[in-house]
């Protein structure tokens, strides 16, 4: 009886998996997973992130997008024979991640995971995202550091900024996103096809959340624990935070206005 219920709500999803113990008809194939790692000058951390990501889950492929790094990222990736794409010009995080989506689309992946190359997203938690995507019936999963109990939030500014963003997203979509700036995410095939076509170029994380929600995709958040960055520091600091907030909130409103018209 329980199984009947499951198979009834199953058909519209195609990323079914044997681990879900679904009836035979639903056991199509284990999902093909691509881990997309955008990297800009991450020579120290990118290899360990890529290798841990590779080992985190059976049959995942890793793709590092080297966004025209000026350090030895390219050589390091070559030496360790890590599957990577080198952009001919620096496109910024949005353009880099979108290249990963295009790759996932072209190579028929069912799930794309986004993990930052600087080591702040522990690749060991990739299974958490994949499981959430497979078990819950949502189109994309965000790893939220605020849902995690043992997570220390680095600064007050970040906390307030996150709150303002969550608030504006809630006002516009009536959906609570506790960590809209998190770049630790899992996307289903349906979303990959959309984001490979349209993905924001600057500050893509919060903007893509609202764009996807406005376009009818559903989201779920799972708690993840994030590390302080191993090397380098956040690109958003001090006075820039204010401009960041203004830009993002503006872009969020635009995304809201844009629904269905592009």
């Amino acid at each position: 009886m329980a199984q009947n219920f499951r198979s009834e709500r199953k058909p519209k999803r195609f990323y079914t998996c044997q681990r879900l113990n679904l009836p035979d008809s639903d056991q199509k194939y284990p999902p093909r997973v691509l881990v997309i790692i955008p990297a800009y000058n991450e020579e120290k951390s990118v290899v360990s992130v890529a290798e841990q990501a590779k080992a985190s889950y059976p049959n995942v492929d890793v793709l590092v997008i080297n966004d025209k790094s000026t350090d030895r990222t390219e050589q390091v990736l070559r030496e360790h024979r890590i599957n990577h794409i080198s952009l001919p010009t620096n496109l910024g995080i949005g353009g880099a991640v979108q290249t990963g989506f295009m790759y996932a689309r072209d190579h028929g992946y069912d799930i794309a995971i986004q993990v930052d190359g600087d080591g702040q997203h522990p690749p060991q938690q990739i299974p958490t995202l994949i499981d959430a995507l497979l078990e819950k019936q949502d189109d994309f999963v965000i790893g939220s550091r605020y849902l995690h109990k043992q997570q220390i939030v680095s600064s007050r500014a970040r906390w307030i900024g996150g709150g303002v963003l969550s608030g504006s997203i809630f006002l516009l979509t009536r959906k609570l996103v506790t960590d809209p700036t998190s770049g630790f995410r899992a996307y289903s095939r349906k979303v990959i096809e959309y984001t490979s076509w349209s993905y924001p170029q600057e500050y893509p994380e919060p903007i893509s959340v609202i764009e996807l929600l406005e376009n009818g995709f559903t989201m779920v958040e799972v708690p993840v624990q994030m590390k302080e960055r191993e090397f380098g520091k956040s690109s958003i600091t001090g006075l820039k935070t204010m401009f960041y907030m203004i830009k993002v909130i503006f872009a969020i409103f635009i995304a809201k206005l844009r629904r269905g018209r592009v």
Binding site: I65, H84, I85, S86, L87, P88, T89, L91, G95, Q98, T99, M102, Y103, D106, Q201
Partner: protein, 134 residues
């Protein structure tokens, strides 16, 4: 009262003649740049909007005066200032649109190029691999 106004030299339409002259020079400059392929025709047309409209307004004092009266400007040729300002804003906005579009296209090209390069590399590795084993 009279002496003050008569003391002012009578410039008449001099500013309008200068405006027409400068506009023509500007037009010539644009046409020459297009001729030398420094500027594409499409952008040239946008830039020519400014001198052409300036000539229209400068050579038609009546139109200028009616327009000035409409918005409450006492000295008619002064209305050229907001007109020029508005035209410049329009033209720059047009160029911003063009730049945004070009940016978008460059991004897509860079992405497609990177994807192709990666695919090519994978293919050529597959081809050279058996050779190495021999």
């Amino acid at each position: 009262m009279m002496p003050e106004t008569t003391a002012m030299p009578h410039y008449g339409n001099r500013i309008l003649y200068i405006s027409i002259l400068v506009s023509f020079l500007f037009l010539l400059l644009i046409v020459n740049m297009v001729r030398k392929r420094q500027l594409s025709e499409r952008f040239a047309l946008a830039w020519m909007l400014i001198p052409v409209l300036l000539i229209v307004f400068s050579s038609n004092r009546g139109l200028l005066e009616r327009l000035a009266a409409l918005v409450g400007i006492y000295y008619a040729p002064a209305i050229m200032i907001p007109i020029i300002f508005g035209l410049f804003i329009l033209v720059s906005l047009y160029f911003s649109v063009k730049v945004s579009k070009a940016e978008q296209r460059i991004k897509t090209l860079a992405q497609e190029l990177a994807l192709l390069k990666q695919r090519l590399e994978v293919l050529s590795n597959e081809q050279t691999a058996p050779d190495r084993s021999q």
